[in-house]
Structures are given as C-alpha cells and as structure tokens.
Amino acid sequence: MPRSLLPWLLVLQRLGIALLTLVIVSFAVFFATELLPGDVAQILLGQAATPEAVAGLREAMGLNEPALQRFLGWLIGMVVGGDMGTSYVNQMEVAELVSGRLGNSLRLAGVTTLVSVPIALALGIGAAMWRGSIFDRAVSVLTISVISVPEFMVATLAVLIFAVWLGWLPALSYGANVDSITAMLKAYAMPVITLSFVVSAQMIRMTRAAVIDTINTPYVEMALLKGASRSRMVLRHALPNALGPIANAVALSLSYLVGGVIIVETIFNYPGVAKLMVDAVSTRDLPLIQSCAMIFCVSYLALITIADMVAILSNPRLRK
C-alpha cells in the first residue's frame, strides 16, 4: 500500500467508528427513555389520566405496539430514508419541528465560535509564549474565575446590567426578528458573550498547556539554541505539534454549544434544540428524543472526528 494513503485510511476508519457509535447511542437513549416513569398518553392527560382515558388515547395515538418495535421502525426509517418520524405529542413532522430550531442553534454556535476561538487561541498561545509573565498570570486568574462562575449567573447579571439598567440590549433573543445587522448584533450580543465566557476558558487553558508541553521538548529547545526568535520558536516549531491536542480541546468546547446551552436558551428565551430535547424528554416523545439525541451525537462526533483528522493530518510522522 502506498504510504501516502495511510492517513486517509485512518480517517475512513474513524468515520466507520462514528457510524457504529451513532447506532449504539440510539439504543442507549431508547433504553434510558424506557426507564422513565409514565408514557406520552399519561403525561398528556396529567391529572385527568384515568385508566380508560389513557387506554383510549394510547389506542388513538397508535402506541399499542411494543415500544421496541416502534423504536426499530423509527431506526429503520431513519437509516433507510432519513425519515425522522412524526412527533407523538403534536403530530408534526419531527424534521419540521427540528429544522428551524437547529438553524437557530447552529447560528448561535457559529457566531460564538467565530468570536471565542480566535480570542481563546490568541490568549492561550500568548500565555504560553510569555509563561510566568504578568500577562500569563492575568489570563490564568481570569480564566479560572470565569470557569468558576456558573453561566446562569453571568447571563442574569448581563441582563440586569445591559437590558434592565442601561437599556442598551434586549433582554430576550429571538431567532426570528433580526431584520437588520444592528438588530442581529443586539439580539446575539448577550447570549454570545455568555457562551464565549464558558467555552473560551477551557480552550485557553488547554491551548496554553499543550503549547507549553511542546516548548519543553528537546527539539524546540534546539531551535532556540540555534538562534530562532521566541515567536518563531513557538509559532513555527512548537505550535504545529501542539495542534492535535488544541483541536481536541476546541472540539470538546464547541460540541457543548449545540446541545448543552439549555440555560442560555432558557434565560434569553432563544428557541434552540437543547430546549426542544428537554421538552421531548418531559413528554416522553420518543421520535423527537431520538432525533435530538442523534443531532447532538452527530455534531459531537463530527467535531471530534474533524479534530482527530486535524491531529492525524498535522502529525509530521503520518504526513510523510
């Protein structure tokens, strides 16, 4: 086999594992959902859930087949035709329910990524370059404090200051009514700032650690001894080798942005998929739960796989 194909083979192998993971996760989510007390008919009827009423509603909703059979039907439809099914709760196509909100989530995640990744990388690399300096210490203290403050606190404080006291920004962020650039900037400002706080702190620390790790290796020391400047030493010699771990840290932080932003979605009333998933679980809406879980899983796997690919392709030992 030609040596140049090896990295691509590794990439292909990663994709195969990713697919297998999806199926396993789907089963795990199904069994976890089955453990929850009550089914969709009981939840929908609430206090009015007499046994006859529940039986009647189950019959009408077509829930009398065993759950496993319904799940397998959904899985086959998903794998074969990409059909996400119909929500039990409101009879709408899951694809229709998900599409708008996924768009919102991706938009929020995208803007946050554009803001936070460059800042985090610059700060992390800077801190590593000038390790031990005032700048490094300031960044470290700042990131530690940002990690320690929960996001609902950041979000609520931001709303109090910028929306209630100063009146500069709206307290709510809608996906829908952003008709001009200024309106969009205003609507996204607070959620993006809050989320950037949460995700950047991790990225900064991981970047700093990864770069420092490579700076400590003999070959970078060699570069320094040969007379390379400090910045050339870090950017040209150390950074490419630190890229793998950095990419993984970035991917981990970003994967949080799709499914884990429930607090920010709640406080700013932003209609994203995290809230959709919570709704789905609380109403035991199996097709919607599964579809959301798949979306989170795919986005997570996609990010991790990209990070792995970056690591593989940037590894000089595999590149040759």
Partner: protein, 536 residues
C-alpha cells in the same frame, strides 16, 4: 396629600385595587385598612388612588408581547387538550365559548344567546346568529355539537372528559339550537360551559396546526414551544374589542428572566411572578402589579381515618395553632387573603362571608392537644416544594407548636413524585389546589365521601346529600343557603386547614390598561388579550 404608613408599598396598593374590583364596599375596605394600621384619612386617599387607576377609555391599535411561565412542544391549539396557562391564553384569543364568567363570577353569554332549562337536566342552548369563523364559515348548531361531543371520545384525550361525561345527549334541534341532556340535574351547566376546554371549534376540525375559531384574534403564527402571533379579527362578533392590532405570546419559564424582560420593556406582561420579585417592581414607574386572588391555595391536610387525625382534639388543636396572619404576612408577603378552612374563595359568589377564619389561639390549641393526649409526641408534617410555599408554612406551624409544647416535625420531601407518593397518603401533609369555578366541582372533587381527591378522608352522608340537592336546584337562594352550610361543615368537620387563598401576581407595563381580575385565574382568567389596550 397622601399620608401612608412608612411601610406602605406598591404591593398594598395592588391588594386594595384588587379588593375594590372584587366588589368590596368602601366600609369593608376601610375596616381592612384600619386593621392593618392605616389611619382613616390616609385610607380614603388610598382608595381614591386605586379607583382612578380603574377608570379610563380604551385606545385602539398597537401591539403587545406577553410572557407566560411554561411552554413546550406539547403546546396545543386544541381546546380539549389545553392543559396550561399558555394553552388557555391562546385558546381564549382564537376561540370563543358558549358562556364566560365575569369578574363577579357570574355567568355571561358569549356565543350562546340564551341557555334555558326547566328541570336543570334538559337544556336548550340558543346561539347568536351571524357569528363568523376566521375562515368565513357561519357558526351553527353542528359546530357546537361537534365541539362538545369530542370530549366524550377517549381518542381525543380531552382534559374535560370527566366533566363532559354527564352530558348524555348533545343534539341539534335547528340551525341555531342545541339540546343538552344531563345524566342527572346540574344547575351549574352554564358555568361548566365557560371552562377553557369547552371552546367552540368548527365542525369536523381535526388539524390543530392553526386555529379556526370565532375569537377576537386570528392565528397568524403558531410554533409549539416557541411563540404564537395573533392579529385582530376584523369580523369579531362582540362589536367591541379587541383593541390591539396584534399580540404575541411566548413563555419565559425562569422567574427572574421574565421579570427582567418586563423591566427592560421587551414584554408588556409577565404572568405569575414570584412574590419575592415584587421588590424589583416597586419604585419602577414603568411597571406595576396586577393582583388576582382566584382561589388557589396550599393547605395542611390531616387524615381523619388514621392516627393522629383520628383524635378529633388533635385536628381541633391544629386549627387553632395555624397562625393565618403570620402565613399571609411573612410567608406570602401580604399577597394572599386569609382563608377559613373551606375551598370556596371570597371571589366566588357562593362564598360564605359569615364564616370567620379561626383565630390563632395557642392556649386553646394547647388545651385540645392535651386532651388528645398527644402533647409532646413527635408528629411529622410532610411538606415539599411541589406544594407551593408549604415548607415555609410548615415552619410557621412548627414554631407555634414548639411554643405550646407540641412536637411537630417538618419532613421535607422532593417534588418529584410528591403527588403520587405523599399527597393523600401521609397522615399529616400539605396539598395545593387550583381554583375551580363552582362549589359543586370543588366539593365533589375534594370532600364528597367518594371524592377522588378527598384529602382528609372526610366522610359525611348528610354532606353528600346536600351536594346532590344543591346541584340539581335552580333556586339560587336555596343553593346559596346549602353551599353556605356545606362550607361551615367543611371548615368545622374536615381535616383540611386552608390558611390562605394565595394571590396570583401578574407584572404589567404601565402602558397596558384594562386588565381586571377574574375568578378563572390570573391574566383575567387567561382572556386578557381582547380586553386590554396600550397607551399610544
């Protein structure tokens, strides 16, 4: 000049305004104010302030955004399935009912022109002519028959199934007349038809992705779990209202976020705000509070069929031990009305005003505890976040108990599973009951011998007979007399201590007018949209 006590706050203003709207007389109000330490002269000016707030002329146009507290993909435009305030608000703006309850709790006609009966068992409903659905169809008897019959079909999953079951025949007489025959006489049918679930939809409707009703607003956007946008119905049959061009309804589950959105002007109405947030509203000229005491309550239940509640003296002692004023003032921060241990609230027209709440009397309590032989025995009281404010109430009772040598222990349990594992089960526990419009519904749900939610396991044959008698009677005076006596029976004989009726507080923008309390719940019984207007 207004001379108010130094601790007078906007919350007190709101309470006074609420009492006036409920129809309290000037004399009653002054008595109430004097009791809380307001001098007569100052009391007069408070009343003046509150009454001017009520009088104003509606302005047409504008749009508003209101926020409830819960929303999910289970949001529905199907009135039969409506289960939360969010659904009720939407249903009220898109559909109409045959009847509705006004501020005084009296039945008014909406789509119905008249509802008549001779024996409270066979009813004739005559509809208003020429009412148009949003799609242009004219309302007729078939729509009403279809809308009501749906509740009997278990496949629909109606929340009102158990109430609807008593309608054994629902049939069309002519284009504008419907006949309803009940299983047994029930004079409350017009009130039952005013419940949100009995909104009228067009014959044959099965698709609820949008709403086709006869209501004041037309549904433009409906995204479950996100928002709805409603625009004015130009053909609205009432001739007056709605005043708004459009209104948007969303939900912000987090209380602080909801209050913040109101303060920043993003929304003009924040429903059901926590009394603890009232401080944030006070001193803000741009917002105010609208208080409704519809009859929601958190109560202390002592099961009469097991120890310690089987000893009548223990129950009697507990009734004297509960310090209602302390609960009203410190636990609920003044946003409540004192209760007299029975479920029919002051806003209900059958409320018995002669039944005075039991006064806090530690000496009498101690006497009864001693007689019961339980003084000094440790008795657990089960409380949980699930029953709102119950933990704080339990602390007040525990404290009072400690002072007379009664060893009550607050047993705090998690919310999850509270209603199935502790409520109705534990010997001494807290419950929480939402307002219901008629004494009959309350009594048959909570106090009849076979009541599904008989919290204290109260059993009285005489009570059951009186309930059936009042239900079938068309004689208002007689019904009132029976219901008054039943309230006394519940207060004196049952083991449910109802210390306060808890007020619902909606935060509203000062630009919003026309909001009045309603016995069906907060936000004007969820029907505020067609009645409110915005300052230009």
């Amino acid at each position: 000049m207004t001379k108010l006590p130094t601790n007078w706050t906007g919350r007190d203003d709101a309470m006074v305004e609420h009492m006036i709207r409920r129809g309290a007389s000037r004399r009653e109000l002054l008595k109430m104010l004097m009791a809380s330490g307001v001098a007569a002269a100052a009391g007069g000016s408070v009343l003046l302030r509150a009454s001017t707030a009520l009088a104003a002329t509606p302005v047409m146009g504008g749009s508003m955004r209101a926020a409830g507290w819960s929303s999910s993909t289970a949001d529905t435009l199907d009135p039969a399935k409506a289960s939360l305030s969010t659904d009720y608000v939407r249903c009220c703006s898109f559909y109409s009912r045959l009847t509705f309850l006004d501020e005084a709790g009296l039945v008014q006609m909406e789509l119905a022109d008249t509802i008549e009966t001779d024996d409270a068992q066979t009813w004739q409903v005559r509809l208003k002519p020429g009412v148009l659905f949003h799609d242009g169809k004219t309302l007729n008897a078939e729509d009403v028959v279809y809308s009501l019959k749906r509740h009997l079909d278990e496949g629909v999953g109606s929340k009102a199934n158990s109430l609807a079951k008593q309608m054994t025949e629902i049939s069309k007489v002519d284009d504008l007349t419907v006949k309803i025959v009940l299983e047994s006489p029930n004079a409350d049918l017009p009130t039952i038809l005013s419940l949100h679930h009995f909104m009228i939809i067009a014959d044959g409707t099965t698709d609820f992705r949008t709403a086709n009703g006869t209501g004041a607003f037309v549904c433009e956007v409906f995204e479950p779990g996100v928002r709805s946008v409603a625009v004015r119905n130009p053909n609205y049959f009432k001739g007056q209202g709605p005043y708004l061009d459009s209104f948007e309804f969303i939900a912000i589950p987090d209380n602080n976020a909801r209050v913040n959105a109101l303060l920043s002007g993003d929304i003009q109405l924040a429903a059901a705000i926590n009394p603890r947030s009232m401080r944030m509203l006070e001193g803000q000229p741009s917002v105010q509070a609208s208080v409704t005491t519809a009859g929601n309550y958190t109560n202390l239940n002592i099961r009469l069929d097991m120890e310690p509640g089987a000893r009548a003296d223990f129950v009697e002692g507990m009734k004297y031990l509960v310090n209602r004023e302390a609960i009203q003032q410190s636990v609920l921060r003044g946003l409540a009305e004192i209760g007299n241990d029975q479920p029919v609230p002051p806003a209900n027209r059958y409320h018995n005003p002669n039944l005075a709440p039991r006064a806090y009397d530690p000496e009498k309590a101690r006497f009864h505890f001693e007689k019961s032989g339980l003084l000094g025995t440790e008795i657990p009281m089960v409380a949980s976040e699930a029953a709102g404010s119950s933990i704080d109430m339990a602390m007040v009772v525990q404290q009072a108990g400690a002072e007379v040598g009664m060893n009550l222990k607050v047993e705090r349990v998690p919310s999850d599973g509270y209603w199935s594992n502790y409520w109705l089960q534990s010997p001494v526990h807290f419950g929480n009951i939402n307002p219901r419009p008629t004494p009959d519904i309350l009594f048959s749900l909570l106090y009849a011998s076979d009541a599904p939610w008989n919290e204290s396991h109260y059993k009285s044959e005489r009570f059951d007979q009186m309930m059936v008698e009042a239900r079938g009677s068309l004689d208002e005076e007689k019904r009132t007399a029976i219901y008054w006596e039943m309230q006394e029976m519940v207060a004196n004989e049952a083991g449910t201590i109802i210390p306060t009726y808890i007020s619902n507080v909606d935060g509203i923008s000062s630009r919003l007018h026309g909001l009045r309390p309603n016995p069906l719940g907060g936000m004007m019984g969820y029907a505020f949209a067609e009645h409110v207007w915005m300052d230009a």
